[in-house]
């Protein structure tokens, strides 16, 4: 029993040994870089060089100029609507797969994730070739003597379609994984007690799976808010989003400090969104017992 006691006494040591390397890695290569752009955002750039000259001009530029605010607003509207569309579409589908997928359910879910094997750029250009002016859809419509659908050609709607296309698998996976651990028998209890299906859904299924659903919403919201590839290919002249001007600062213009400040603003907006979602989570009502983890 000596070895067993030896192991037991060193519990904290073993915990640290196993969890610290990754934690240190994240600290150095995720947290410190984020802190560094926070610092650089208060500096200034002169001919592609960062100069440690503390000021808040970058933030004044972003939050004071109407153009930048327009980009933020546009991205926000885009991210909220894309998340909503993904949520409304993915929920019933994930529900079907989790409840009735049987032994094929994992493969049914993997099938929604398999498009990730193709790079984002290729998938978005393919969508461009389908929706664009000489794309499949409009040419087909013209062959039948119909008017092309203007709204799908280089517009925010086209961007939204592309973004839903890219990120709906995340929503599917998050809701599916949550429903996988959901006890569907609870619904039968509700039915037996006279609840109508929609009421059982609203009072049992929805609240008990809200954590997974909320994670899905955040996982769609963030890449959509930061999107730059999709709007560039599908958005057209007025379709540039916040990600595009952010990306621009690190490309041709080389305004590192302003770009850093834009990154910080992006981070803060995402953080506020996460906190708003987090406040809606009630662990007691979510069926969390603290046992499974």
């Amino acid at each position: 029993m000596k070895t067993f006691r030896h192991w037991h006494q060193n519990k904290n040591f073993h915990f640290a040994l196993l969890t610290l390397p990754g934690a240190l890695f994240l600290l150095i290569f995720l947290i410190l870089p984020l802190i560094s752009i926070l610092v650089f955002s208060f500096w200034r750039t002169e001919s592609y060089e960062l100069i440690a000259d503390w000021n808040i001009e970058n933030y004044k530029t972003i939050l004071g100029e109407k153009t930048y605010l327009t980009f933020i607003w546009r991205s926000l509207v885009m991210a909220v609507s894309v998340s909503l569309v993904c949520l409304i579409y993915a929920y019933p589908v994930a529900y079907l797969v989790a409840k009735r997928g049987g032994r094929y359910r994992l493969i049914l879910v993997l099938l929604t994730a398999a498009p990730f094997f193709t790079g984002i750029i290729l998938r978005v250009t393919a969508i461009q070739q389908i929706l664009g002016p000489i794309g499949l859809l409009n040419m087909a419509l013209q062959t039948f003597g119909l008017e092309p659908i203007q709204i799908l050609m280089y517009s925010n709607v086209a961007s939204a379609i592309g973004l839903v296309y890219l990120w709906i698998p995340f929503m599917m996976l998050a809701i599916y994984l949550s429903l996988l651990n959901f006890n569907f028998k609870l619904l039968e209890v509700a039915y037996v007690n006279g609840a109508k299906p929609w009421r059982a859904f609203l009072e049992v299924t929805w609240p008990l799976n809200w954590i997974g659903t909320a994670i899905g919403i955040v996982l769609v919201f963030i890449p959509t808010f930061a999107a730059f590839v999709t709007p560039r290919f599908l958005g057209g002249v007025n379709g540039a989003l916040y990600g595009n001007i952010l990306e621009h600062q690190f490309g041709a213009t080389g305004t590192w400090a302003l770009g850093s400040a834009m990154g910080v603003v992006l981070f803060v907006i995402c953080l506020i969104f996460i906190l708003i979602i987090w406040r809606t989570i009630n662990l007691q009502r979510s069926g969390y017992t603290g046992e499974e983890f």
Partner: protein, 272 residues
Amino acid sequence: MTAVGPREWTVVIAQTSLLIFLYIFLYFPIFFIIYVSFVDNTVWPFPPEFTLEWYERLWMMSDFHLGLFNSVLIGAGTGALACIFAASAAIGLLKYQSRWRGLFAVLYLSPLFVAGILIGISSLMFHRNILDLPGHLSSAVLANTTQALSFAFLVILAQLTRYDWRMDEAAMVFGARPTRCFWEVTLPTIWPSILGAFLVSFILAFNNLDITFYNIGAIPTLPTIAWGTLRHGIEPELYSLAAIINGFVFFILIILFFLIRLGLVRLGYRGE
């Protein structure tokens, strides 16, 4: 399968049609890519003039080979690093009940909630200005590992929560040291999830643009080549490459389907 009442049928049919439409929506562009990779007239590919020209050119284009090679390197490096960190963290978190584990779990999942482009630019600024690490494969691997680590951690954690730690305790009682216990008890049981985690991180890093682009310098990878050739339109050779990769993926999925069908693989499904 649960019994389906007559009224529920309408709901099931509606849901099934949504699922089928989702598959069509998700796969139409992919099949379009595969189709275009076989035709000569890529701008407006109807009626098709079939050709294998893009595949032949893909075979000869050396910068694509280099890009593919670099992408595989980034994928493999990221996958290996992410799996080592994620597996040890997941085991540590679940095996040793520490009061710090909530904090560590949040830290390990935090990259999921940071936008890719933000990881890309912040790593660029940090590596360039503070670590004095210019754009390079290693710097791209390090930046990609942060995000991949979270996904790997989730995949491994999902299987480990069902792991019976009494097996480890039994091994310990019989005198196995923690290291031996890992190699002979834990690893043989959890390797599928580690393989899954490796695949997920590999794919993410292999195809990544927003992190890799800012940290790779002038070294070509497949996504950065695609992003760079954007001005003159996408090169059809990239479509043929994507078609090959997808052919491979569909092949694996079909094999998986038959393995499930024959009952050889269960994938966590334990019946109703």
